[in-house]
Symmetry: C2
Subunit: 342 residues, 2 copies
């Protein structure tokens, strides 16, 4: 492998000058620059990032903490989509993505250790909630953090506008005449869960509808099993006071609701409307296709990258406690229709 000294020799200048050329220093004669570049190209010189990192303390590496309850890994339709977009944005600015893992050592702050070991410049938190303490330790150690989907103290967060999205879909149901709307709440330990539930309550208030305990039920975990249990509980609770529509806190719940109701002989949407939140690919292929809220995963990833880059440039004047909410969209499909007049 050609080194900077080879380029120096080939071009007739010193290694310092070659370095300056490659780092776009101002004070280099343009002819010199040209000669150096030609020499470098000739011998196929590629700078060695390890050497660079050793002296500059900058690795051009962004660590990603990507673990989630569902254990779907990269294929996770939401986190995976966001990461894909974040990655693409960061690459444009010369950063590479590396996965941080917790099996790195047997100590407590394993992610932190991995950050140090790899000397990452920043960290994207794209996972189920981390202990607040662990996130804080990473940020405090000087690694610029950006979080997606979760909020941590002093770490900027990017997330879908769950309030707006909930409002969109519930208002849509309202215009269809639905006033008795049940909700299966996502785990309240997640920010999304809390915000969507909050949005639901705001909706009720805005339309002078009363909150009915028997129409809501929380899903404990982000798993199908947990969703099934929650749905069963809901259906049992409201048997004698059946809703005209159900708001599933996220699409997967909606799919299960559809199947459950169909199996019990209900017709969707005629007997009852069902809506979700996510707009997974599958929302277009289930029967009936699902009316849901579209999350702009691409935008979320891009915004997270934008904030990360700003932070990496030292432009950290803004409030790190900021939550940036990305607008959602409504996807109207076949799981909803006018409410029957009971």
């Amino acid at each position: 492998m050609a080194t900077i000294y080879d380029v120096a020799q080939e071009s007739g200048f010193s290694s310092a000058t070659v370095s300056k050329v490659f780092n776009h220093y101002a004070g280099v004669n343009s002819l010199t620059k040209e000669k150096v570049l030609i020499a470098a190209k000739k011998i196929g010189y590629i700078p060695n990032i390890s050497a660079q990192t050793l002296v500059t303390n900058k690795s051009w590496l962004i660590g990603v903490i990507f673990k989630e309850d569902l254990h779907q890994g990269l294929v996770h339709p939401h986190f995976g989509g966001i990461l894909e977009s974040f990655k693409a944005s960061m690459e444009k600015s010369g950063y590479d993505i590396i996965f941080l893992n917790k099996n790195f050592s047997d100590l407590e702050l394993r992610y932190l250790e991995h950050c140090r070991y790899r000397n990452v410049d920043g960290v994207l938190l794209a996972s189920s909630p981390l202990p607040e303490k662990e996130a804080a330790a990473i940020e405090k150690a000087g690694f610029k953090c950006v979080s997606v989907e979760n909020d941590y103290r002093n770490i900027p967060t990017v997330i879908s506008d769950n309030y707006g999205g909930t409002k969109q879909i519930l208002n849509y149901l309202y215009t269809l005449g639905h006033k008795k709307i049940a909700m299966v709440i996502p785990p309240l330990k997640s920010l999304a869960g809390r915000e969507r539930f909050e949005g639901y309550k705001i909706f009720l208030k805005n339309h002078n509808l009363v909150f009915d305990e028997n129409l809501v039920v929380e899903c404990d975990e982000y798993t199908d099993e947990s969703a099934k249990i929650a749905i069963e509980r809901l259906l049992n609770k409201c048997l004698d006071n059946f809703p005209t529509a159900i708001f599933a806190g996220y699409d997967k719940i909606a799919f299960i609701i559809e199947r459950t109701l169909l199996a019990r002989g209900y017709f969707i949407p005629n007997d009852i409307s069902v809506v979700g939140f996510d707009d997974l690919e599958m929302a277009r292929s289930v029967t009936p296709t699902l009316t849901t809220v579209y999350q702009k995963r691409k935008e979320i990833g891009e915004e997270a990258a934008r904030i990360m880059l700003k932070r990496l440039e030292g432009n950290d004047s803004f409030d790190t406690n900021t939550i940036t909410r990305i607008p959602t969209g409504l996807r109207i499909r076949n799981s909803t229709c006018r409410a029957r007049n009971n």
Copy 2:
């Protein structure tokens, strides 16, 4: 950040000794070792990988080339699933995953340059076919390659047993009485496409069925649009000689076939059976649920990791031209039934 010198000072030994301890050298007094370890823990020492890489020329980094026609990125159900498993396996051996990208420079062998820049130890080729020349250049430059889904000269490949899988599903149809089976072939530029088509022809031969040009059609690209066109062509070609079953070269095609046929008034599976290949999550949620071939993505990723690790250990005595085929499974669902006696 604590350095090896800090540990040396804290423990009372030299940096050389500390290094030996951390690299598990034989000739270190066990008491010395213990003292060094205690000192290291006390001051929170983490070795600096950049410095290590600079001298050892080993980065503990595996580059992944992960680009595919569908532009689904990480969320790609097949490649994403394989990568997830590969990553998990490699992490257990201390390797981290980094994405190689082609926007790295404007030169021709951009992936190669990125490999050099990051000093990766190995490369996983998990993408749509790369130019043979480019793959060869990477391998030749000393980066240990393993390919998934595609075959390159002198690079070990891991892929589903497409022959076996095709045989499984076609034999199943045969046992249901199907003898006139159409096929929508995946792009023949892909290894999977070639093997599945080959498997189809072998099946026909084994059962003394004649190959009928009008019952097969190739899909040009791995896109929904291309699939739709192919399906249209097939349906037009065999109108007067309708098959009793259709073998879709991969699940997504099968989903589109189902929708197309249903829209045209056919009943599946009563009028015609439909089968796929992949077993995507959606296969369980479309109507009717899809009978298909299950690809063991986890095993593929693990096997790729196993081969990679072997190569990294210098144990490269085996034939690098090897193709390892991972057995598939049959998933029988509701899109198939006995063939009607015409």
